[in-house]
């Protein structure tokens, strides 16, 4: 069984993701108790795990970038790129679910007082520029280096932006909204954990999938050149 798992990591991950996501959805909608916030709570089960997953993706992308610059690991550049790609996808989903949550909770499609959302908006802009950067430079060692440096700047920007957003609140908005998130009972916490695991495994599966696809592309290209 374990050899099969090792050889078919992608299929295992995809299967795991499908299973966990189904389980999470089932739990969210049928098991987790509805508290007074109702729909707002359900969105929370999606929004926070997705946000967390996006952070993990950006962090992984920066780690691979560091490996590329420091150890000259072959393939690290591609892995960094794919991780950041996943991060931007999950980041966009974070903004979407976050916006939905704001609409349900406060009646507005966007609230500047939600620190997490504002942070994500800034990061989304930053990492979107990563793609503009990457695709306007010719492939080669310089592009890999530049993208790696940019990815590392991104993770450094995260804590700095958190601090900045916190500081900005003093002169932008008086803190009017109730800041604490939903309190969690055990059944809620269990649901949350399953949802979190589901998102992480889903991201992992998508990461592997895209990586496999890109590597296949590269191999194909090399074969074509060798034949030409």
């Amino acid at each position: 069984m374990s050899t099969w798992l090792r050889n078919n990591q992608l299929i295992a991950l995809a299967g795991g993701a499908a299973g966990l996501v189904s389980a999470a959805v089932a739990l969210i909608f049928f098991y987790a108790p509805v508290d007074r916030d109702g729909l707002n709570q359900k969105i929370f089960y999606f929004h926070v795990p997705i946000a967390f997953t996006a952070y993990v993706c950006f962090g992984w992308g920066a780690w691979k970038a560091l490996r590329h610059l420091w150890k000259r690991s072959p393939g690290a550049d591609l892995e960094s790129y794919v991780a950041i790609h996943q991060g931007v996808i999950f980041g966009a989903l974070t903004l979407a679910t976050g916006s939905l949550w704001a609409k349900v909770r406060w009646g507005h499609w966007w609230v500047w007082s939600e620190r997490q959302l504002v942070l994500f908006l800034v990061l989304f802009l930053f990492y979107s520029a990563y793609f503009m950067l990457r695709f306007s430079i010719e492939e080669g060692p310089q592009r890999a280096n530049i993208c790696a440096v940019y990815a590392i700047f991104g993770v450094v920007l995260i804590p700095i932006s958190i601090l900045a957003i916190r500081l900005a609140e003093n002169f932008i908005h008086p803190i009017a909204f109730n800041k604490h998130g939903p309190q969690m009972a055990t059944s809620q916490f269990a649901t949350f954990c399953v949802a979190l695991a589901a998102m992480l495994v889903l991201a992992g599966a998508l990461y592997r999938l895209e990586l496999a696809g890109k590597r296949l592309d590269a191999q194909l290209r090399e074969l074509r050149e060798a034949l030409a």
């Binding site: 610059l69 800034v122 990061l123 802009l125 930053f126 979107s128 520029a129 503009m132 950067l133 306007s136 430079i137 080669g140 060692p141 310089q142 280096n145 530049i146 790696a148 440096v149 940019y150 590392i152 700047f153 450094v156 920007l157 700095i160 932006s161 601090l163 900045a164 957003i165 500081l167 900005a168 003093n170 002169f171």
Partner: protein, 213 residues
């Protein structure tokens, strides 16, 4: 160590001398910042506070810096002059530091005109704002020089630099506006200093990777 700073001095002197001869970047920055202020006057409805204007001051400074940064590596790329510097035995980061020093100088000149102009057009500028501007210049120059080098490698050039620069400049705007507006600017100035330190070290260390082909 001494050689390193000698190299930085030689390169910075070169950048300043080139600007003195060409006289294109700094005058453009000066004109731009004044034009921005005039535009802001028409953009601020009558009920707007002094504070709104202070916020716009920082927007103007960031965009003026962007204008200057866009020119930072133009000659080096168009005529491959960067090759000449890369061939030399000096440390790559010295190129970054020298360029950064020149950018700070250009920003300082722009602010010497912009800040008095702002106090004439809108409202007074206090010591905290000036201190904020000095700290912001360092941070903008540090990060901006590195990002400008990246942008100069790409096909998109001037189109790309604002996209790379603005998200990273947001904390600078927060620090600067905070320092100008709040009663107790110490925290904001401290934050700007932190930003400067972190990004200067990061840019200094990674410049070499950005310029090697």
């Amino acid at each position: 160590m001494k050689r390193y700073f000698q190299d930085v001095l030689v390169l910075a002197r070169k950048d300043l001398l080139l600007e003195l001869r060409a006289r294109d970047t700094v005058p453009a920055m000066l004109l731009f910042v004044i034009a921005a202020f005039v535009t802001f006057h028409f953009a601020l409805p009558s009920q707007s506070s002094d504070l709104a204007a202070k916020g716009l001051l920082w927007v103007a400074l960031v965009f003026t810096a962007l204008l200057g940064l866009t020119r930072a590596f133009v000659a080096e790329r168009n005529e491959r002059l960067l090759d000449g510097l890369l061939l030399a035995p000096c440390d790559r980061s010295a190129i970054w530091l020298a360029k950064g020093v020149a950018v700070v100088a250009f920003l300082a000149i722009a602010e010497v005109v912009a800040l008095p102009a702002f106090s004439i057009f809108f409202s007074g500028v206090d010591g905290a704002t000036i201190a904020g501007a000095v700290l912001a210049d360092v941070g903008i120059a540090a990060v901006g020089t590195l990002l400008a080098a990246m942008a100069s490698v790409s096909r998109a050039r001037e189109l790309l630099l604002p996209l790379l620069f603005l998200p990273v400049a947001i904390p600078v705007v927060v620090g600067g506006v905070g320092a100008s507006v709040v009663d107790n600017p110490g925290r904001y100035l401290g934050f700007l200093a932190l930003y400067d330190g972190v990004f200067a070290i990061l840019s200094w260390a990674s410049f070499e990777y950005v310029v090697t082909e």
